[in-house]
């Protein structure tokens, strides 16, 4: 077997849901363990490091606000890649991945919005403003809710997969808008201070806990995503087996 065909067969192995379930069963305990460890270190650092000379203790809100905001966008990007997988390659797990990710994305977007609001009140003097960054993230939250409702409203899974995939890809336009909103418009929300071309603009004292918490949140997301994908595969198998049982029962009558 040539190297290319070996690589292709390795990739299509992952497309096999049974193979995925076996892999998930092995990976989930490890991922959960490493996630818990990262959270322990991250939370310790979040409260052990010093406060900011201007923001005081509220800088600690950053350690949960920034990772959840990052996840809200990463989750949608994963859903968009899955949508391409559904429409172009008809990968059997692509739709499962998109459907499983949507509630997680909604949860982390809500977390980013609420912690941002709790940070805004003491620092800006307001819980909420309709500036470009806050509004575009709020739209992202509504899009997650819409996608969850849509995929559950259509009974036929393959039809639901295609319709959702198209809507996910249309909605992807919002992701660069969120990322660059603070540069394109005049916003109350500050501009990027971690992912910048000229390097992070915040002190290493704050960067360390932020980095560990970002890893912890990302690992938590992937652990939950694999668990939710596994649940969705099981759900579909149960539905298929029940249909089969009903057909067998009606044949016996």
């Amino acid at each position: 077997m040539s190297e290319t065909s070996l690589a292709i067969s390795k990739f299509s192995d992952l497309a096999n849901p049974t193979r995925f379930l076996a892999l998930a069963a092995r990976a989930i305990p490890w991922m959960a363990g490493i996630t818990a460890l990262c959270f322990a270190v991250g939370l310790y650092l979040s409260f052990a490091t010093e406060g900011d000379y201007q923001q005081g203790e509220t800088v600690r809100i950053m350690y949960i606000h920034v990772p959840s905001a990052w996840l809200s966008m990463m989750c949608y990007t994963i859903m968009s890649v899955s949508a391409i997988g559904t429409l172009v390659w008809r990968h059997p797990l692509a739709d499962v991945s998109a459907k499983a990710a949507a509630p997680l994305g909604a949860a982390f977007t809500l977390l980013a919005l609420v912690t941002g609001s709790l940070w805004g009140k003491p620092m800006w003097g307001t819980w909420w403003v309709w500036d470009a960054r806050l509004t575009s993230v709020f739209i992202l939250f509504l899009m997650y809710l819409g996608l969850i409702a849509l995929s559950r409203a259509i009974d036929d899974p393959s039809k639901a997969a295609r319709v959702s995939a198209v809507l996910i890809l249309v909605g992807f336009v919002n992701i660069p808008i969120i990322k660059f909103s603070v540069e394109w418009w005049n916003t109350l929300h500050q501009s990027a201070s971690v992912l910048r071309l000229d390097g992070p603009a915040i002190d290493p004292e704050f960067l360390r806990p932020l980095f560990i918490m970002a890893i912890a949140f990302t690992l938590l997301f992937f652990t939950l995503h694999i668990m939710a994908m596994r649940n969705e595969i099981w759900r579909r198998r149960i539905a298929a087996q029940r249909r089969l049982a009903a057909r067998m029962a009606s044949r016996e009558e």
């Binding site: 005081g56 509220t58 709790l118 009140k121 938590l220 099981w234 029940r242």
Partner: protein, 55 residues
């Protein structure tokens, strides 16, 4: 601590959301596993599983 309410409220809400999502995902998995076991007990299996048993 200054602004303790805002800091603790943020961490409290973050704990609530992450724990709720984790418990929900875990409970969903447990319920599905039970349903699969019930189907198995009723003799309803996937074709691939039946073939392996030599039925």
């Amino acid at each position: 601590m200054t602004h303790a309410f805002y800091v603790y409220a943020s961490y409290g809400f973050a704990a609530l959301v992450t724990i709720a999502v984790t418990v929900w995902t875990w409970a969903d998995g447990r319920a599905r596993r039970r349903e699969l076991a019930a189907l198995e007990a009723a003799g309803i299996r996937r074709r691939s599983a039946r073939a392996r048993d030599g039925e």
